[in-house]
Each structure stands twice: as C-alpha cells, then as structure tokens.
Symmetry: C2
Subunit: 669 residues, 2 copies
Amino acid sequence: MVAAPASLESLCINSIRMLAVDAVNKSNSGHPGLPMGCAPMGYTLWDQFLSHNPKNPKWFNRDRFVLSAGHGCMLLYALLHLTGYESVKIEDIKQFRQWGAKTPGHPETFETPGVEVTAGPLGAGISNAVGLAIAEAHLAAKFNKSDSKIVDHFTYVIMGDGCNQEGVASEACSLAGHLKLGKLIALYDDNHITIDGRTDVSFTEDVLKRYESYGWHVQHVPNGNTDVNAIAKAIKAAKETTDKPSIIKITTTIGYGSPNKSDTAGVHGAPLGEEEADLTRQSLNWSYGPFEVPQEAYDHFRKAIDKGAQLENDWNKKLEIYKEKYPQESKEFERALRGELPENWDKDLPTYTSDDKGLATRKHSQICLGALGPNLPELIGGSADLTHSNYTDIKGETGSFQPETPEKRYLHFGVREHAMAAILNGIAYHDSGLIPYGGTFLVFADYMRGSMRLSALSELGVIYVLTHDSIGVGEDGPTHQPIETIPSLRAMPNMLVFRPGDGNETSGAYKLAIINRNRPSSLCLSRQGMPNQANSSIEKVALGGYILEDCSGTPELIFIGTGSELNLCVEAAKELTKKGKKVRVVSMPCVELFEEQSDSYKEEVLPSNVRKRLVVEAAETFGWHKYIGLDGDSVTMNSFGASAPGGTCMEKFGFTVENVLAKANNLIG
Amino acid sequence: MVAAPASLESLCINSIRMLAVDAVNKSNSGHPGLPMGCAPMGYTLWDQFLSHNPKNPKWFNRDRFVLSAGHGCMLLYALLHLTGYESVKIEDIKQFRQWGAKTPGHPETFETPGVEVTAGPLGAGISNAVGLAIAEAHLAAKFNKSDSKIVDHFTYVIMGDGCNQEGVASEACSLAGHLKLGKLIALYDDNHITIDGRTDVSFTEDVLKRYESYGWHVQHVPNGNTDVNAIAKAIKAAKETTDKPSIIKITTTIGYGSPNKSDTAGVHGAPLGEEEADLTRQSLNWSYGPFEVPQEAYDHFRKAIDKGAQLENDWNKKLEIYKEKYPQESKEFERALRGELPENWDKDLPTYTSDDKGLATRKHSQICLGALGPNLPELIGGSADLTHSNYTDIKGETGSFQPETPEKRYLHFGVREHAMAAILNGIAYHDSGLIPYGGTFLVFADYMRGSMRLSALSELGVIYVLTHDSIGVGEDGPTHQPIETIPSLRAMPNMLVFRPGDGNETSGAYKLAIINRNRPSSLCLSRQGMPNQANSSIEKVALGGYILEDCSGTPELIFIGTGSELNLCVEAAKELTKKGKKVRVVSMPCVELFEEQSDSYKEEVLPSNVRKRLVVEAAETFGWHKYIGLDGDSVTMNSFGASAPGGTCMEKFGFTVENVLAKANNLIG
C-alpha cells in the first residue's frame, strides 16, 4: 500500500507522521490518525506556501494557519517543531499532553506561541478563520495604499469531516462566501472516517457542492496521500482566486502508513501501540527511532527560519517606507498593533444624573457605541440580524463590511449567532488591536455558548452585547425571555458579566469591557427603560458591587439589585427608611469584579454580621446564595416566563415594590 | 400591485392576512409580515393537503405541521382558528400576546393544542421536524404491515430565511438528506427580508443548491403571492418523491398587501398601525372590520372539521382491523401511544454492593442502557459521533437507523450536537411514547444548549447522556473539560441534572430519567472509575440528596459530594471519624429533586444549625452556596482545567483526600 522512496519529501512528510505516532504512543493518548493522513498537505502548505517567521510567531503580516481539526494537534506541533519554533522543542513533543507541557491535547493559544487559535471543539477553527480573514481584509482596506500593501496575508485552514458537519461552520462559511473572502483557503481532509466509523453512517452530503452554493471556489485532490504536486497546484489556484474563499477537498487515508489501523476509526483517537508503530515504521520504510528526525528533514524544514527572517525583514522595509510616506496612518497602524488604546478614547462616554430621563440600557448601550465609535477606530462589530433591536449600530456611520466595502466596520452577521461569536473570536485572535463586539438577544447566548466559552478560555476581549435581558422582554414570551442565561454566564470562568442598572453603569460597563482585552464581557441590557440613579457612576462599576444608598450605622437589611430591578430596591429602601428601618442598597453590576476586590472592601459593602440580605434580579436565583447565604432571601425567577406585555410579566412574577417590601419585611420582621 | 378578485380562495387567504394584521395591531406587538406573505402557502397546504382533525388535535396519525419561523405565529393561530380548533377562538386571537392567552408571542406546545412544536428560536422547528419524521419512519417500520399502514403521515414545515441561516438547521437537514426522510416536506418562505433589511446584506448563498447537496428534492415556486396552483403542484410533487426529503422555495413578498410596508423589514416585527391596516384593507379589497371573517371563508375552512373526523374515523377502522389481525403488535402500539411504560421495565437495572468493582459512571450508563433496552422498546437514541466514548450503544443490538433500516433505534447523529438535541425534541414532540436519548461530551452541552432549553421549556422527557464530566477527562485538556457546564445546567428551570456517584446512583438516575416524561434529564457521567458505595441505592436517588454515611448525634461537619468526588468525602469522613470527629456525608446526585423534598426531610439531611458544610465537586463552585451558605467551604473549581492525565488534573486542582481533609479541618478547626 505504501511506496517509500527515501526522497527528501518523503523524509519530511514521514517525520511529521512518526512524531505524531511516537508522541501519542508515549503519552498513551491522543489522535495519530489525522497527522498521519494530513502530513502531505501540511508539509506542502508549510513548505511551499505559508509565509511565517518561526523566530517571531507574532510577526504581524504572517499567514495565519488554523488547524480546525484540533484533535490532530500533533500535526501542528510537528510542523512548529520541525520549522524551528522555540515553543515546541523535541522535549515538548515528548511531553505531549502532560501537566505543564507546551503541547496540550488540543492546540491552545495561551500555551503555545505559534498556535493561532484554540481548537478542539469542532467547527470553531474554520469559523475563527473567517474572522481572521475579515480582520485581514478590513485592515488591508483601512491601511494599505496603492503603492504599499502592509497588510497582506492569507488565512489557511485544515478542517475535517467533523468541522464540516458542525452548524457553526456552515453559518460561518455561508457568510464567508457572501463576503467573498478571497484570501481564506481551507484544506478539507476528506478521510471518510469519524469516531462512529465510516462517514457513510451519517454524512453523505456533497460537501463541495454545498460550498459552491455558498459562493466558494472548490477543488478536489483525489490522492492526498502522495500527490504533493496536485496539492500544491490546488493551493496555487486557490491563491489566484481572489474573489472567493477556496476549499480544496483532499482525499486522504486516516492513519496513512499504519498497515492494520489506517482507514479505520481505531486510528482516530487512540495510540497505535508499540507493535503497530513498528509495523508502520516498516511500512513507511522508516529506519529512525522514536522521536528521531533525520537531519536532512531538519535541514530542509528549518530553511523556514532564514526564509521567515527574510520575509519579515522585507515587510519591515516596506513598513519603513510606509511610515515615511504615511506618517499619520502608520502611527495609527503601529498603535493598533501594540494593542494600545488611543488617548482619551473614553472621553465621550456619557454620564447622567438622576434628573436625566431614564432609558433602556440597550439604548444607553447605543449611546455608548456612538460615543466610543469616533474615538476608537478599532471597534468593529455588528449584530446577528438584530441591529435595530440590539441597537448595535454606531451613530453617524453608514454602510457595512461588504465585499466592496471591507473598510467599513459594521458587520451584518445574518441570523447566525454561533458563527458571530466564533468570528468575533477570530478577529480577536488576529491580535491586531481590533476590538470586536456583537449583538443578539441575551437568550440566544445559548446558541453561541460554545464560542463564548472559547472567548473566555482563550482570553479574548470580545464584547457581547446581549439585549432583552429578562422577562421584561414581554410579548415574545418564554422562548425569548432569559431566565437562567445570566447565572449560566456568571458560572463561566474568565467571563465578565455586566448587568448595568442605569446610564452611568452602562457607560462603566463599556469602559471596563474595552479595558479588559484579555477576557470577554457579556453586557446584559434591558429592553425596557429604568431611571438613572443619584449615586451611580462609571468609576463605581469597576468595583463590581458598591453601596448605592445607605443608612447611618449598621444596616438591618441589605438589598442587592442589578439592572432593571435595581430601582425596585431603591424604592423599597425609601419606604423602609421612612418607617425608620436601617437599610442599604448595594448595586451589583458585575459579580466577577466585586469578587476581585479586597476582603476589606467586600466586608465593608456586605458586612458578614448583616445576614438579612435580599437580592432582586429578574433571573434565576441560582448563584446568589453566595451573598444571601442561608439567612437571606430573594426576589428572583424560578420558572420560565410568559408571553404578555413586559410590565405585566414583571408584575405577575413579583417584581414590584410591594413584593420586594413584603419579602424585606419578612426578613426583618 | 395587488389584484383582489373576491374569489373564495382570496377570501380565505385574506382572512389569514387580516387576522394577523388585526391581532398584531391590537396587541401592539408581533410579526405581521410573515403571515401576510405566507398566507397563500399556508392556505394551500392546510386546505388541500394537511391531514388533521381540528376536534382532536392529538389524533395520532395526523400530519405534523411545524411553523419553524415561529415569530409568524399568527399564521398558525389563524389557521387553527379558521379550521375550527377549540384552542384558538376569535377571543383568543383578540388576546394575542396577553397574559394567560392561548396565543402567545411564539407558538408553545404547552399553551395551545394544535401547536406541534415550540418555535421562535430560529432553526429549531425545522430541526424538530427532522425528529418528527424520524419518529414517523421508525414507528411505521416497526408497526406497519404490508396490508395495514397504521403509521403513515407527512411532516410539513414552513421555514424562513432565518431558519436557513441557523447552523442547527444545516446540521439537521444534512442528516435528513442522508436518512432519505421522504415524508418531510419544507416550504421555504423566500421573502428576501430579515430584520437587518434585505437578505443581500448577509445571505446570498444558493439555498436550493445547498439542499441538493444534502440529497433533498428541490423545487421553486416563483410567485408565492398568488399562484396557489403552482404551490399545490409543488407540494404534490414533493409528496410523490418518497426517497428524499423535499424543500420548495416559495418566493413571496413579506407583508403582502400592505401598500407602504410590504417588502420591507418594517413589516417583519412591528404592527402596521391603524392607518396602514386601512390602506391594506383597501389594497386587498377587504371590506370586513377588524377580526371579522367572512362567513364564506369560515364555511370553507371548517370543512376541515368533517373531513378531519372522517380521516380519523377511517384510521380508527384501519386500526380495528389491525388489532384483530395483529393483537400482539397493536397492544404494544396502543401502550406506546398512551405513553405507558411496560410492566417491569426497570427490572434489570443493576444494583451493586461496595464489593463490586468500581467503574466509570459512563460504563454504568452503558450497562443501564443494556438492561433497559430489551424491556423498553420505545427507547431510541444514539450519539453525536461519540458512541464508543459515551457508551450509548444498547448491548446486544446491532445496526442503526438508516434509510433501509428505519426500524432500528440507534441513531448516528454525526458530529452535530445541536441537531441531535433538536431531533430528540422532535421525537418527543411526536408524542408517541418514544423515549429519546442522545450522547455527547458534557462540555459540548454548550453546543446544544439552545435546544436543551427547549426540552425544558416544552416539558419534553429527553435524556441527555453527557459523559466526560470534569477535569477527569484528562489529556484532551480544557477545551474538553467541563467546569461551568454542570452549574449552567442546574440553573435551567425544569431540567433534572444527575451526577451519580456510583453504580446504584447511575441506575437510579436512569430510572428517574425514564419516569420523568415531562422534563428532560442531563446525566453527567465520568470518564474515570470510582468505587461503589455501601449505602447508595436506586431508591435514594429519588430523594435527590441523602445521608450516605453518618455519625451519631449532631454532626460537626457535613460533607456534600457528587459523582466521582463523592468517594473523596467518604474517605475524608473515615479519617475524621477515626479522630473522633462527628461527620456526615451527604450524597447529592440531583439537586433539583432534593429541592422538591419536604422541608422536614431537607432539615433532616442538612440541619440548619449545622453550618460547617463542605461541598466537594470537580465543577465550578457557582450555585453551591445554597447549601454551604456564608459559613461553609468547598473543594471545587474556579478556573478552566489543563491538559494532563486525569489523575494528575484531579490532584493538581486539589481533588485529593488530603486537601479535602485540610479544608474540613479548617472549618471545624
């Protein structure tokens, strides 16, 4: 089955294959099948096409390479190692999947320089790649001049059958076709095997025809196991097709080289074992020991180091000329690349007094976007087809990112929430200072949670604008009314969840979301209006929770409120104060930031000896006992909502001053 | 623009349109555009094709009609009302979107008899429809005889551009094509408008070509506004195509009839207003007042009542003959339709003693499925391409539901988690006794959360088999290790979340999941082994939480443990007992069921005066303060995990007897 001429090419390709076999065998876990099957396309792409600099994985103008089939990470680690990245030494490969290693079981950007996106959850990588390509096209349109293309790179993807079955990839690729992202090139590893066996048990669609329907350029390489020339020819043709994204279906054999396990599900996600590894060595005519790479292969692969240095050098020269010719633009370009916010970017964020007319926080959000837009050119985003509900438009700007207008920063994602989140992640992964945001109804965070989790895990400062944040949604009913959504987001590590209670808090939430470039923010915003508070401020939001209204001395009762229910606390507190009760109102726009405050501050806001505490929030109680403990109470939700006008819903579910007072009186008797 | 002959046909079609206009105007919220545009296709389908009985919405053999574009619910309510369903009287339409009405803002099965699926979250309905068609095909193959087809109906869908952009629909429709579900017929309302404006801002793919790539039969009706004959002809051709699902693209004008708002996003989701409603009346030559339906239209539509009675009657006769000829099968068929579990269905659920070898709970789950399979023929399910990791197969059974073998009950969903959940919902919506289950990794619950929420909201007894439930996953790393997933599911109303701590608890979890036909269950199962406990039992799981190990007298400290961490509590308790401490271990396999117990039982298990409580669970702390309050502590997770062997992860993140003891000693000092 396997021809094995000891050509340099086969030495290089088999180096990838055998590093994968050895690493997976040593760690006794992992996925050897994909790297063995994709070694030829990986080699061809990295050897002949990929523009990168192993000694500077962060060189801006590099081509982006995304291994969307992240389980095959040994392909990527092998390529990084072989081409000379410091991040993946042979020792790291020997430590594959071990505690503290640079070679985790799926590629993670925060662990391994050279890894462009965190992959593993299938469909995410290709969808991120659409975001990378959008970022490139946008920056190219914004900064390039007819005589100087300082932004000019491709985004390459290797994806598998799994990625092609995931809906998020369908959404993202449909949009990529619409946007005519000509510098996005996907290599589809068509190996006919998934974990359940042959793809014909569940996946028999005509994949290329589907991509054609999206407007992609499609090609097929029937022999991806050995026909390097055909792969190279196809990539070349894809590069030359500048008005469409490209997909190249490359038919391969999973686990190529393994006499007994290739072309079976058995080689997908389990070690070959020593015996089969030996047989694979024989079959590939491979005379090297475990983790041994022939010097010829190293020598060839590591030409990438000099080549990469040259590429970056050439680009640096180009940038120097650009700087001279276009000092203004280059200043802006370099600032963006440093990830530095412009001076006074937040100067127009509005503040309010209690005399100002109360608005819905989604409306305050729109005002914030309008205030930030002109001062923060790196802000880029849009909505999953709810622009006029989410109010995600930037005041004063018209037009959107379209094939002919990539310089525009408004994105119409279509009714594609999951792709939106993945694309926002991709824009953030591009690491070029862009600040991505995207809007949908809060309840549809569920549709994109897979990618929101990756924002959090990969430390991406994506801003989620999530409007219609409670039963206050009203008539659209329980399918559209979030109940558990806010707690479910609060449960997520590294996710900032803001639920501002008025205009100042909305401005504060935006300020913090912008500043936090290494963690995502979910802004939970109301459909309905609420008054501006007297004692709120942008600055106080940074504390996460703070005393909004207070009594003298130790309070008998502490209200904790958020968002549209904050004012119920304020009103109830007024009533109780009138009756001589000592009560405090704590506004808690961001639980996570409150948790990060000093113990003494937290004790000051919520003294541990004041146990009568009442939370008011039109969301599931779940999670609030951290503050109300066993002795407090809550006015919260414990069921799904109902279809009725928002005010009626609020009233029927107990979000009234009367009910808050009743519960408060119960507590302090 | 609008011709308006006062034909019976136009009277009927305009009755639908104007009911939608009037209801949305009266409620001052809602979506008139779709019903106005889809009235002709809705009329044609219901008038000429839909087999249903308005006086018995639950008649088993009815065609299923799914309005996937659920925001257009006035189309459905109008059709239900006009054809004579008791559930939607004219008063109900006047109460559109009001508190307690049978006409909520999106169709909800639990509110309105005649509504087949809860729709609104786009893409869900068409994906449910795939489940409905699977259920029909399965039951037909199982019960029909060559001389008697007692299961024989179509599943019709109206879907819009939004549904066609959602990834879940792509996943489900790809699978539907693979499975050759010939009795699934989708009418695609191609109206070129979404909320952000014309579809050409984001959605320019060739939809029919895409469906062709999935293996569907495709047709186009260019004039869906007036060409009822063409619509009828296309539906007829679709019915005759028995080896493929069908999609008919029907080009329409959104808000057809409204002179100033039709063909704009303005008519999608906002009332026309009185003035435009009047102009629409003029334009449609409609001389009737608000909520007025011409008697001729009523007379014609309500022929459905007699026709429906006849259809059901004919079927009943057929069933009588079937009963005589096939008494055994008919007994089983009728039992299933009553939703009655077979006698002794649970008799083979295994029990264990502490001497029995400990296993992973995913392995116990496989044993349960094997024990239930033969006794519970209505169990139907599979995995999203993780059969051999989730262990979702039924021991002793081979083969799967494929085009040629629909009688098989194992489903290969492919790498399509979201579609899996939506299809499981569809099977449950079929309401024919089938008990659907589906497996994936727990962390990928995030991919299908949109549909899991609909399981909970619509009270569907879907069973989610979610394996690899913690950092115990090990080498696959943080992308595959759930941290916040369990709390995020616990936050969802009406969702039972089980995390069994040994074999008995796994059997108990299955028993409860099967019994609970009106709420979904999430079974969170370990990858790794754990010992069987001495005092666990199937019965105790029904209490949600119970005393597993106890001391005499009032405990100084209560451990609360779940799943693979339960045994850490037991071991730590042993150590403390040796040292003369009084400690109790509470096992909490299902928080939701514990919450439903009497106050006295809860007080017995967790006495309010014992405040030293320690939770041990390898998941986010979020939510546990309900039991540990302000004075307890936890050994839980507060960050994402890491790639390393599972045992190493457990140790590094503090899940050791030593660390549990240290925290316990801290508390009771």
